[in-house]
Each structure stands twice: as structure tokens, then as C-alpha cells.
Symmetry: C2
Subunit: 346 residues, 2 copies
């Protein structure tokens, strides 16, 4: 890409009067080169502005020190928190990340995986869209090192790190019931997503416990992207379906419905009480108090990294690592003002 002549090991070797291998070993601090020579070679390398060719190195070494991170949506704050934490943790371990978006699109997910494999990543952290599972089966068959994050498959044994969404769904619903709410709208993710499935189970369990019937006209499945929750609420209101509580799939959805309901005249939380999910703590995003299901997101990302590194270090192990991160309810007084607790959280 550059007209500037590329500096290679060869050039350093010529200047130092040693072999290319000696330069390589010196720069990689191998033990079979004298400290004097190493120092001399390092200086020449620096002088010439040598930048190692990782592509060539990777080919020879058979490892890229790169992990593929494949996620549905980098613009979702939850995902960007994950990505940042994964990047930081992996960097500490000498790895880089290669992030690919799938837009919750299975075809793109397949392409993303092939791209990552083609780029010879040493492992993959994947939050699957779950519209299909062929690609996961393919990964297993190929014995690729991968860890699922945030979502898992019931019928495929893999490594994964997920939140305890069953408990999360139960706690959120129970909280609304305890507050005296009678008709709780579940604004859920699509049912092929495991976390949505489990939250639904938690929702039904809490209702059953209070001897309430499950009314499926109160259960909606939508994609977690901007505008959808508002559209859903519009539809529900259009059908004259009554509700006095909402359990939303994400803080983002919760936020959107609160804003929309307020706009059209509802009092929040008096008329409708809302519980979110994920406890996205960035002050930027949620200046208003929102009761939400909380879990250590950073821990989740770090555990996924730990598991992946373990698998890479021990490729012959048949062991599966499956982590279910505990969830709890983060109760905030729901009102239109700033949450002073945010600094203390986490």
C-alpha cells in the first residue's frame, strides 16, 4: 500500500551483519541470542522503523493472536460495553479482537463466521442471532474454539456465559405484581432468542405464583431496535388492550416506552410502571430512574474471555464451561428526575 520501501527483517540483518533468523530471534527475545546482539539489533530495527509483518508471522506460527467477536449490534450499549471489556481483557493477554456485526441476520452471521475463520482467528466470542443453529453445529464439528455470550442453545452443548434470565424475568414480574400491578405487558425479544425464552418462563412463573392466569395478548415479541417498542405500544393501545405494568426486554425498550407513554398522556409510574433489563449505567443514556434487572455485565464479558483462553490453552480438553451469571433487581424510585445513585453503583 505504500511507495515507501517496506523494512523487512532482511534489511535489519544486512545492516547488523547477521542472519535473518538471528534478527527474528533477537526481536522476539529468544534465549539463544546474546544480549549484546539483541540490543544492537533492536536499535537498528527502531532506527529503520521496522514494523513486524503479522500476516507472515501468523502464517508461520499458525496463530494470529486475534479473537473474532461476532455480535448482533454494535450500537446496542450492552454490546458496546461487552466489546470494550472483551477488548481490554484480551489486550492484557496479548490478543486483539476482530469485531463483526450481524444485524441479527443469520446470513450475515454465517458470513461473519466464515470471515473470522478465513482470517484465522484463534477463537470466537459469539452472541448468536439464533434464527438458525447450523453455523453453531458447524463450529462444533470443526472443533473451533468458541464461547457464546448472552445467549445459548438448549439442544446444543457449547461453552457459554449467560445471565440468569429465568430469575431475572421472575424478579421483574414479581416486583410489578408486588407493586399491585395486575396486567403486566411483556415486551419481549423474539422467542427464538434464549434469553427471551427464559425471561418469558420467569414471567409466567411469577404470575402462576400469584395465581394469575397468563394472558398471551399481553406478550409481545419485537426486535430490540429503535422504534419497535413504540410501534408495539401503538398496536396494543389500538387493540384497546389494558395494562398497568410493563416488563421490557431491555432498558432501551423501557426507556422508549416510558417516553412514548408520557408523550401521549400517561403518568409514569402512576398509570403504568415499567421495569427494564440490563441496567445500562451510562449516565448518558439513562438520566431517569428506571428499575431494572441487573447483573455484572463486565464479569460476564470477562468470564467469556477466561473460558475462551482456557480452551485455547487446552485444546484437547472435552470440558464445557457454562456460566450463568446471577441476576438481581435494581430497584429505583421511578420518577422523572436524575438518579443520584448511579455513581455508587457497580
Amino acid at each position: 500500500m505504500s511507495k515507501y520501501k517496506k523494512v523487512k527483517l532482511k534489511h535489519i540483518a544486512e545492516q547488523a551483519g547477521v542472519s535473518i533468523n538471528t534478527v527474528s530471534h533477537a526481536l522476539n527475545d529468544k534465549s539463544d541470542i546474546s544480549e549484546k546482539t539483541k540490543e544492537r539489533i533492536r536499535k537498528i530495527a527502531k532506527n529503520l522503523g521496522y514494523i513486524p509483518d503479522a500476516v507472515a508471522g501468523s502464517m508461520r506460527k499458525g496463530s494470529t493472536k486475534t479473537i473474532g467477536v461476532i455480535i448482533p449490534d454494535i450500537m446496542d450499549p450492552l454490546m458496546s460495553i461487552w466489546v470494550k471489556d472483551i477488548e481490554t481483557k484480551l489486550r492484557q493477554n496479548g490478543y486483539n479482537i476482530f469485531v463483526i456485526n450481524t444485524d441479527e441476520n443469520y446470513a450475515l452471521e454465517e458470513k461473519a463466521l466464515v470471515l473470522a475463520l478465513s482470517k484465522k482467528v484463534d477463537g470466537i466470542i459469539l452472541c448468536p442471532c439464533q434464527k438458525d443453529d447450523k453455523d453453531i453445529i458447524f463450529l462444533k464439528k470443526k472443533r473451533i474454539n468458541f464461547v457464546l455470550l448472552g445467549r445459548r442453545f438448549n439442544h446444543i452443548k457449547t461453552d457459554y456465559v449467560v445471565a440468569d434470565d429465568l430469575k431475572g424475568g421472575y424478579l421483574a414480574t414479581k416486583h410489578l405484581l408486588d407493586q399491585g400491578r395486575k396486567r403486566i405487558l411483556l415486551l419481549n425479544g423474539h422467542s427464538y432468542i434464549s434469553s427471551a425464552q427464559e425471561r418469558y418462563r420467569g414471567y409466567t412463573e411469577a404470575l402462576k405464583e400469584k395465581k394469575q392466569k397468563i394472558d398471551n395478548s399481553l406478550v409481545y415479541e419485537i426486535a430490540n431496535t429503535s422504534g419497535n417498542s413504540m410501534q408495539a405500544i401503538k398496536k396494543i393501545l389500538g387493540k384497546k388492550i389494558k395494562f398497568d405494568g410493563i416488563f421490557a426486554f431491555s432498558d432501551l425498550m423501557a426507556w422508549e416506552v416510558i417516553a412514548f407513554l408520557q408523550e401521549i398522556g400517561f403518568k409514569i409510574p402512576e398509570d403504568v410502571e415499567v421495569v427494564g433489563y440490563d441496567n445500562i449505567q451510562s449516565r448518558f443514556y439513562f438520566p431517569y430512574s428506571l428499575t431494572t434487572v441487573n447483573y455484572p455485565k463486565r464479569t460476564a464479558a470477562h468470564k467469556a474471555v477466561d473460558i475462551l483462553l482456557k480452551k485455547i490453552a487446552n485444546p484437547d480438553s472435552q470440558q464445557y464451561f457454562q456460566e450463568i451469571i446471577d441476576t438481581n433487581l435494581f430497584i429505583r424510585k421511578q420518577q422523572n428526575n436524575y438518579d443520584p445513585d448511579y455513581l455508587e453503583e457497580h
Copy 2:
């Protein structure tokens, strides 16, 4: 990374009874292989689950078809919009992206650049932290293909795409003045960031036009991360400095100060009117109306890609491409309710 035996061109060649080169040419759809042979080889490749080794291919071809995207903060919505648009546009052109965060940290920026160059990216899109410029000079000297996005250097000639921040700063300040605001707080980014510099210039120009003196106790420079604008406001209030308008460096800052000021009893916009920057349109983030400086962010990202692709296609050209994207003021009635216009925008 896998115990599963890797499928190489060699294996396809053996099964097809042709040479490795023929397989390579067939799969790359070169013209010197008969359609019949191509079809046969494609089938065998598919059967064996062949995934091309991009590392080996890149080494031989001298091109990775990957662009390094180096940005200060993937969690900033502006940046994640950019990244997504860049990814989409580059994908259409057969390129992938390699995203690296710098956390507005110059040392990390240098490392990110070396990493990208080491990984042999075909070009770089960079939003520099601007705490130093040595790395930019290095890129120029090495004749690396790169385009700056969002920020530029006054004293270094490079390709860039920036917003018209001078105009943006002027429009925002003028708007506040026109609304009768007398003491306008500039909550700016750090002055080594070009966009902050230019907005400051716009701010002063608008003040001068109205014959107002520039009061530097009203100008604050902070990093665009969560919590900082609140801290700044606290300090300012502590110093008993009065203000009735705020021009913030980002919608995020604007948002944070609005929430904080409301919390401590200010009426917005009656007591303090706030103007933001970037017009982050995601319904998720800003359910409340905010007047803000707007510009086509998508266009900016796309232009950066276009410029980079032009430079890659034409490496011998000495031409510089410098785009200043026009800014305008997006006026919204500032009130605590939902902005119904958001769907129509853009």
C-alpha cells in the same frame, strides 16, 4: 486451533486430480480454467467445507482487503454510527474493517496504528485524539493510505472529512443569543481537538457579532465521557458563576447537564437553555427534544470511505481530499416530552 484437519487447496486438488494452482484459479474464477472444471472444483470445495486461508492469501497478494478503523471510543454513539456505516459501505466494496479503540489516549493510538500496520491493513480511517501529532507525521512519511474523520490538523496536510464546526459553533451560539440568553456557557471538548477549537471560534464570532465580550470563565474544556459535564457544572455552580445558556460539545453532554440541572431544581429551558451537537437521532438515547447542531453523519462516514478507496485505487496520486460537511441547526422545542419528529428526520 482445531484438531479437525484443515482443508487446504491441496486436498481439493488431490480429489479433483488437478494441480493446486488450478484449484486456486478455479475458486477465484480466473479465465484460464474451463467452466466444467470450475464447477467440479467448486463442488468438491463445498463438500470438503473449504474455507480459504486469508492469511496466506494476503501474504502472497500483498493486500488484506481490510481497513483499520481507529477511534477514541466505541461507546460514544457518534462513533458507533460511524463504525457501522463505514463497515456497511466497505463491505459493499469487498473490504472488512478492523476496529481499534484508543480511549482518547495517545499512547494507545500509537499502538493501535502499529497494530493496524502490522496486520497489513490496506488503509486507515482515523479519528485522532490529537494530543500529539507524531503518529500522523509518521503515517504521512510512510505514505500510508489514511483519512482523518471528524478531526483534522491545521499544520499537517492530510485527507480528511470533518463537519463545519466553525459554522456549527456559530449557529448554536447565535441561536442561544437570539433566544435572549446573555451568559452562555461553552462546555467544550479539549482545545487540542480541532472540532473543539473551531466551535470555540464559532462561539466567539457569534458573541462578537452581538457585541458581547468573551468571558473565559464561561468556557470549559472537558472530555466527552460520562460524568464529566455534571462535574463541570458542579464546579461552575460552586464558583457562583451565572449562566442562562449552555452550548455543549455533544448531545451526550447536553443530555447529562439537562438531567443534572433539572435534578437540582433548575427549570429547563426557562432557567437555562441548552444546545447540543451531532443530533444523535437514535430514539433510544434521546427521548427528549434537544436543539442541536446537525450534519449528515452517514454522509461523513461514507465520504471518508470514498476518499480512502480512491487513494487505494490511485496510490501514486499526490492529491489531497478534504471535505467539510455542512452543519445546520436542528431546532426542537426544548421540553420534557417526546420528540415526534424523530421518525421524519434525516
